[in-house]
Symmetry: C2
């Protein structure tokens, strides 16, 4: 049981930042990652479609005997977390609650900023999660539709990237109230340095992905499901899209060797 892998799903490559953190914080655990690159992005899609696509990803991983499921996509978490927690016989965790909780721990003035895709921001998932815990939290939420494309193009720094980030974050910067900013999209940690420069040193940046990795550790330990033997983990990565692009991004983002990278088809 404890030697089974942790399953990670995402709409594409963004969730690899969560996988990287899982590998770093839980170096004994094995991961199986499935990114739906073919149908990425989920952000602008209607809820029903996101639910359907996510269920297809889950079905594939459940066939691989995973011991826990990580929904490493904010949009999919917003639309499917409660449903999957009810339906699946294994623990399911999304990226939103861990990010919200870390922000609540960090904030001193109770003013928290959230940036994410249009889908995530429209879903109100972060404000709901934050206010469920503390209704006095003030939330400044902003959709940043231009961020995912620049990450997917690998433009993680440079003048153009700085300009796009700066232009996008103006309304948040000008409000000048937040002391904590949640990166509510798993692509955004790759822009972290630029975002920090734009938003200023006084704002604590919370990466939902890093926080999720930590909570996976909390829940697995609480359930006595952490692997505690000796082995060299054999991570496996799957994509529904083009293997070459996915493979080159995975190799450049992950610090760890991967046993298998393959293309899979979800539709019969």
């Amino acid at each position: 049981m404890v030697d089974q892998p942790i399953g990670v799903i995402d709409s594409g490559v963004g969730g690899l930042t969560v996988a990287r953190e899982l590998m770093r914080q839980l170096p004994r655990e094995e991961l199986i990652y499935l990114g739906d690159t073919l149908r990425c992005p989920y952000g602008p899609r209607p809820e029903q479609e996101v639910v359907q696509f996510t269920k297809e990803l889950v079905n594939f991983l459940m066939g691989k005997r995973i011991k826990m499921l990580v929904i490493a996509c904010n949009t999919a978490t917003a639309f499917t977390l409660e449903l999957l927690q009810k339906e699946l016989p294994i623990p399911v965790i999304g990226v939103i609650q861990p990010g919200a909780r870390a922000a609540i721990k960090s904030t001193e003035n109770l003013h928290i900023g959230v940036i994410g895709t249009e889908g995530t921001i429209k879903s109100q998932a972060y404000p709901t999660a934050l206010k469920n815990i503390n209704e006095e939290i003030h939330i400044n939420a902003l959709a940043c539709p231009r961020f995912v494309p620049i990450v997917e193009q690998g433009k993680l720094s440079g003048e153009e990237t700085y300009r796009i980030v700066a232009e996008t974050l103006i309304p948040m910067k000008e409000s000048n109230h937040i002391d904590t900013l949640i990166l509510g999209c798993t692509h955004y940690p790759l822009l972290r340095e630029v975002i920090q420069k734009v938003i200023g040193d006084k704002v604590t940046i919370i990466s939902s992905g890093e926080e999720t990795a930590r909570e996976v550790s909390t829940i697995l330990e609480y359930q006595s499901k952490l692997f505690n033997g000796d082995r060299k983990p054999q991570h496996k990565l799957y994509t529904t899209g083009k293997l070459t692009v996915f493979e080159s991004i995975a190799k450049s983002w992950l610090d760890q060797p991967v046993m298998e990278i393959a293309n899979v088809s979800l539709t019969v």
Copy 2:
């Protein structure tokens, strides 16, 4: 069920730093705190005695219908966590694993320092927790028996305090390797500023208490036991020792009003 209080036990007043964090991070939850001030400190006591005393504290709180137990004392966690997790029908969390997990998330060079009482350091609880997750972590552990007395005397700053902290931390400071330091005693967050000054800005300080409050939130939410209605929480604090001393410390450390502070006797 969700409206039941969270129980917090400690050998004395140190666990109030955990209670304060619980009140801050989970402002809707009600707490019942029991500090064994009469028999404090637990640090130098033999294991069997710590187990016996802790069970007496737990019995008192179980009579108050708590929905979760927080062992807010590192020594008691080291000696009783596994036992209580097996025996009690409610979730039980200690302060050691959350501190260890936060340090693993924080460290970049895999060199982590731990300071605590003699009992905690001798128990090897932190090295065990850290190495269970990542066996490549290097640990520099140091007992600081002079810290609890200065905190209990309220000497949280000033020349004498600085001197004592500086003298104690010399071996850790000189090793010059750690990038993360775990405050492995719930008294130490009250000396945080002095410790940070002595150990230097480059070392990230992890307060096990703050991290524990966050993991209480994780586990309660995972179990659907977070309170989500409207109420003004009625916190209750109990001590086995002198009420006046306990009350004055509680009032100066906690930011929240407390409904009841009382002295209780555990032995029949």
